[in-house]
Symmetry: C2
Subunit: 272 residues, 2 copies
Amino acid sequence: MNAVLVNGELTDAVSARDRGFQYGDGLFETLAVQHGMPFLLDKHLARLSAGAERLGFQISPALLRQEAEQLCRNVERGVLKIIVTRGISMRGYRGDPAATPTRVLSLSDWLSYPTGYTKEGVDVRLCRTRLAAQPALAGLKHLNRLEQVLARAEWGDEYAEGLMQDESGNIVEGTMTNVFLVCDGTLVTPALDRCGVEGVMRSEVLARAARLGIACRVETVTPEYLELAQEIFLTNCLIGLWPVRRVERRSYAIGDITHKIQQAIRDAYVAG
Amino acid sequence: MNAVLVNGELTDAVSARDRGFQYGDGLFETLAVQHGMPFLLDKHLARLSAGAERLGFQISPALLRQEAEQLCRNVERGVLKIIVTRGISMRGYRGDPAATPTRVLSLSDWLSYPTGYTKEGVDVRLCRTRLAAQPALAGLKHLNRLEQVLARAEWGDEYAEGLMQDESGNIVEGTMTNVFLVCDGTLVTPALDRCGVEGVMRSEVLARAARLGIACRVETVTPEYLELAQEIFLTNCLIGLWPVRRVERRSYAIGDITHKIQQAIRDAYVAG
């Protein structure tokens, strides 16, 4: 475990001149690995390609797929992180259109979150650090992650996750998760056109909820939603779904819709 | 030239697990080197220390000073870039308080900008990419530089620099420079409490202008200032001062105050 492939070679060394290191000029994906297979690999590679296109460079999904499968072949359970950057260029912000993007695939051990998180739910804080509105980068899982680093530094082990708000106080996401709220039978998740990361698992949840006949809305989630919601849950591709038991001092039920979505995701994991 | 010191060793390899590469979790400085000396080194190291403190980690200015002087010893003319990151930690945004910050010092060739830029001034564009408001990071020269990368990708060689606005249209800075405007004899530069980088040369200019008896204001610079200003100039520690001849279709004089500040900076370079 903890193997790293940099541009196809078994090393964890990247160039200090790489634009990923110099400017955070790249993107990443985090995947669950089980029985030798990176879970939802197609969807992660599609998001990576779309993100690179928005940033103005091109990646090779076929090559990344091959390296991901090679690296995960004998892994029973683990985490695969894929980073792609714009590669190496001369000094200065201007990119070199001829540069070859850098590929970094790294394996690490499976997570050690308490098993109760999935069944009994988690306690969540409201972070002081706000998310800045940047439509040009909104939705992307890019390498500029200082806001998340600052937010995560606000607590130690007393919460499982922190919810982040935009400058107006609207709820956007967790530091490493997307958030869903259940309001009177409708599933609501924040619109991510000004900030936030469009998680692969978020898309999965929206698709599966629609198939289950659960009404969904993607919209601005004002702070008042925390009072209106009966259920809240968090998702990402590693944790699956964590029901939220408390946000600060307010309590939530682990209700019917949370259970249904959790079951649907679990079925997908087994099927996938 | 193009030598790189990573944690004191002559190599350009950094770990892919470094938080600088993973999250842009660090800071940088860019210094002019002349006759073996990095210019304004004290001030750059002070800014680096203050920035690291704001991000919640500590660096050793003494060690960086020693490495900078060692690397620059025989360099007649060049550029020194210093990067410090929070170092290596486990997967996830949470930092490891026991981690050792990473130091990367790299030398590159002196700049090849046209010499006319300094005397005859430059043409500047207004970038479409806006700067997001993030008070927690404002002022810092941190490694999350995707906004500058996107802005710089908007043009090729037809402009020397691009001016960036915040979401309300206020002028904040250039992609790699700070901006000053002269309005009826007063020097005005944008306040950087919501976004932007507090350049070392910006502080130098403000200090020298005060010494020269030129009135200075640091304030919100609305787009109308582009119509009110008689002179505009750009600064950073590599270019010194570039007068602005045009912003898009509007022309500016290279006037008295621009000349005085340029002379004051030039004297400092020679003295420093």
